[in-house]
């Protein structure tokens, strides 16, 4: 029986997956995707679903593909940049195809609320030649999650479900449906498709390309791609996903122009052609990159038609859509709010928590580096990235998970000294240890500080897998000279003594590791 649940977009996808009979949920925490996995994790035991965070998104994707290989359904969730990490497995899984239904839910972050870029995952789906669904609201998130599993098992392909921050983290009521039974264990007798030797891969890639017309036909007939004519054909409007909500908002629910909503990919070219027959001017409003707009415009444009959107400046190229931006882009009147009554409104960026161990660690590291002049420290992704801001001004890079170590090594190759990297324990486990292993092989003269706070703090204190003694064993296992592994409990009261330990390791012209070990205050607060 249908029940009405109060769900975030992330949670609606999660519940859709549970009701689709998944046997596994995989992922690595990352805003705005984290709550999807956590919702499933919360009921995993009673539902008999395997749900344990993976070391990184690539591991998660491969575990899920293995579950699919064995015949069962699985969902993988990650943020958009996580898919860069999982891309190898993801793109090749389009070639292998799947056995049990496999859905990748990837949450993009237009506007970069909590991210390094605003890459658009629809490109990945197109790149891998697999279908992609894109909901506009929480109800569609639930419904599409269910449909994605059906589509996956029907097409024998992984299916991408694209969310954006404003849907992932917006709550509303959702009507839910029946539960499907889980799949039985059913590994394939024929494993040709999963063995991508060139001889096999050529065959499978050919099969994948032959599926494309069928996928495009699916899109043209999809209920998620409705083309609705309008009385005012002076322009047509094409929107994707959540951009529909903003368009509906600015017209009070009744858009007078022909509208094509796109919620299923590959792009519904048939529908787009039908739209272009109706109108001479098409405004493309996309939440994300100008993905459809570029395709429609092509190199030479469309004869006799004006295609407007992000590429001609009609719609802002950067940042997320809002109802106000959509109204302005369409030249509609925009309501005026109130003006601030205070002359200057200072920014309030996020900060490290009171009592945060990272703050003391930065203090100690800065003190150690002071003797060496203006040293730029490489860093990484986590709470400690906030060490960029005053009063710490401690870090000078943040690029991608694990980059602190590899970039510091590269700078050391170039002859820079000192080279110091600061990375968290979970980020180290995600993608830092391979960089360190590489550096240790040639004893690169640099120092890595692993800020071991025992948790994935930024995304809400998820469990980390290399902390404490385990972390020490891992670092030594990578081949580090034990003489140059130092463990400190960073504390401002002991800054001088601890800075001396770090200084000594910087002076050593080989690879050294400092583990700055002190638990996250959030972890203590939660009593974990």
């Amino acid at each position: 029986m249908a029940e009405r649940e109060l769900l975030l977009g992330d949670e609606a996808v999660a519940l859709g997956a549970i009701h689709s009979g998944i046997s596994g949920a995989y992922g690595y925490p990352g805003t705005p995707s984290t709550e999807l996995f956590e919702y499933i994790e919360g009921v995993a035991q009673q539902e008999g679903i395997h749900a344990v965070w993976s070391a990184n998104e690539k591991v998660a994707y491969e575990e899920a593909l293995g579950m699919s290989f064995a015949g069962k359904r699985a969902i993988i969730s990650m943020k958009h940049v996580g898919l860069n990490v999982a891309a190898d497995a993801f793109v090749n899984s389009g070639v292998t195809g799947v056995n049990g239904g496999l859905v990748l839910c990837v949450a993009d972050d237009p506007g970069m609320h909590s991210s390094q870029n605003e890459q658009d995952s629809r490109f990945y789906a197109k790149f891998a030649l697999v279908p992609c669904l894109e909901p506009a609201d929480q109800q569609e998130a639930y419904d599409m999650s269910r449909e994605a599993f059906e589509l996956s098992e029907r097409t024998k392909l992984p299916v991408v479900l694209r969310l954006v921050t404003r849907l992932a983290h917006s709550r509303s009521g959702v009507d839910t449906g029946d539960r499907r039974p889980k799949n039985q264990l059913n590994p394939p007798a024929d494993t040709f498709n999963f063995t991508l030797l060139p001889t096999n891969a050529r065959v499978m890639y050919d099969r994948l390309t032959r599926k494309q017309p069928e996928l495009e036909a699916d899109s043209n007939n999809s209920r998620w791609n409705p083309l609705v004519d309008g009385a005012d054909r002076s322009r047509g409007i094409l929107v994707n996903g959540i951009a529909w909500n903003y368009l509906a908002e600015v017209f009070g629910g009744a858009v007078p122009h022909p509208v094509l909503r796109v919620g299923q990919y590959p792009a519904p070219f048939g529908k787009i052609r039908s739209m272009l027959e109706l109108v001479d001017e098409l405004v493309v409003i996309e939440e994300g990159y100008p993905f459809l707009e570029e395709m429609i415009r092509g190199v030479a444009g469309v004869a006799g038609k004006r295609i407007r959107g992000k590429l001609d400046g009609t719609v802002p190229r950067c940042g997320e859509m809002t109802p106000t931006i959509v109204a302005r882009s369409l030249g509609l009147a925009v309501a005026q709010g109130l003006a601030p009554t205070l002359e200057t409104i200072p920014n309030r960026p996020p900060t490290l928590c009171p009592g945060c161990a990272h703050g003391d660690a930065f203090l100690v590291i800065r003190q150690a580096l002071a003797a060496f002049g203006d040293v730029k420290m490489f860093s990484d992704i986590g709470c400690y990235t906030l060490g960029f801001y005053a009063p710490f001004n401690a870090i000078h890079s943040c690029v991608d998970m694990g980059a602190s170590i590899s970039m510091a090594a590269g700078a050391a190759h170039a002859g820079q000294h000192p080279c110091v990297a600061a990375i968290g324990d979970s980020t180290f486990g995600h993608s830092g240890m391979t960089g360190l292993m590489t550096a240790i092989r040639e004893n690169v003269p640099f120092t890595v500080v692993i800020l071991d706070n025992g948790t994935v703090a930024m995304t809400g204190t998820q469990k980390t897998m290399c902390t404490g003694d385990d972390l020490v064993k891992i670092v030594l296992g990578l081949g580090l000279d034990p003489e140059h592994l130092k463990i400190i409990e960073p504390h401002r009261a002991r800054a001088a003594e601890q800075a001396a330990i770090i200084s000594a390791e910087i002076d050593y012209r080989g690879t050294s590791v400092i583990i700055a070990r002190r638990p996250c205050v959030q972890l203590k607060r939660k009593g974990a």
Partner: protein, 257 residues
């Protein structure tokens, strides 16, 4: 009927708890709602907000268009300024008066409050004082929900089952203590709304509220108080300092005599 609300505050102040109470109140009324939240990095002491939309009609956008919000409900007074472009003319501001000074360039608190009270329909709530008086110092958000209620399609008592869901495990006395705090907030909000509706300025309303005991206020009397707040006696009362007094019929009589 529609209510578009911007919830504002600083990461860690618990605006999602306020959102939770309002969400479930809307559900209990069979209303539609959407509520866009901020998670992740900003939750670490940064500026946080939530767009909350309640309506008896379908809601399209998760985000409120600029100039459409009916209320800014803020648990920090400076944060109000960040979202005023969303507030429609005639919209209300209900804000906690306690600053969170986790930035070095926090403006003068007096200026922050005066800027807020320069707005036509603004209420500054002494949430910390009310919560501390009830020996529930962490219940400032309950005060703010209560103070916002008169501007929303809810009665303050409707929150009891939701407060029970939040705190029921800690015992009935905890639920009742939180409800008492919420009611005190409601008294302040409803009384202030009455004053504003009767044409009293935000500044004058705020000065009056600073002189009276929140739990003593009877919102139905706000109109009568509004009529006497410009008298010489009222001026003297507002200018005085010291203990808060009961904002009851005796005070009304004293101010109007």
């Amino acid at each position: 009927m529609k209510h578009d609300i911007i919830l504002a505050g600083v990461g860690g102040q618990g605006i999602l708890t306020i959102a939770y109470l309002l969400d479930y109140a809307a559900i209990a009324r069979g209303l539609r709602f959407k509520q866009a939240e901020v998670h992740g990095m900003a939750q670490r002491g940064g500026a946080v907000y939530s767009h909350m939309r309640i309506s008896d009609q379908p809601i399209h956008s998760d985000l409120i268009p600029e100039g459409h919000a009916d209320m800014i409900l803020s648990v920090e007074p400076l944060e109000v300024q960040r979202y005023l472009e969303y507030l429609r003319p005639g919209g209300a501001v209900v804000s906690n008066n306690e600053p969170v000074k986790n930035i070095s360039d926090y403006p003068d608190v007096g200026q922050v409050n005066q800027a807020l009270l320069a707005l036509p329909r603004a209420i500054l709530v002494d949430a910390a004082g009310i919560a501390q008086a009830a020996k529930l110092p962490k219940a400032q958000n309950m005060v703010m929900v209560g103070a916002a209620t008169p501007f929303l399609p809810f009665e303050w008592r409707e929150f009891e089952p939701i407060v029970n869901r939040l705190f029921g495990a800690k015992g009935e006395h905890v639920v009742q203590a939180n409800m008492a705090v919420l009611e005190a907030g409601w008294r302040v909000g409803a009384f202030a709304k009455g004053l504003l509706d009767a044409g009293v300025t935000s500044n004058l309303a705020s000065r009056f509220l600073a002189r009276v005991e929140p739990v003593s206020l009877e919102p139905v009397m706000a109109g009568q108080f509004a009529a006497v707040l410009t008298t010489a006696k009222a001026q003297a009362f507002l200018d005085a300092t010291g203990e808060r007094v009961a904002g009851d019929a005796d005070l009304l009589k004293a101010l109007s005599a």
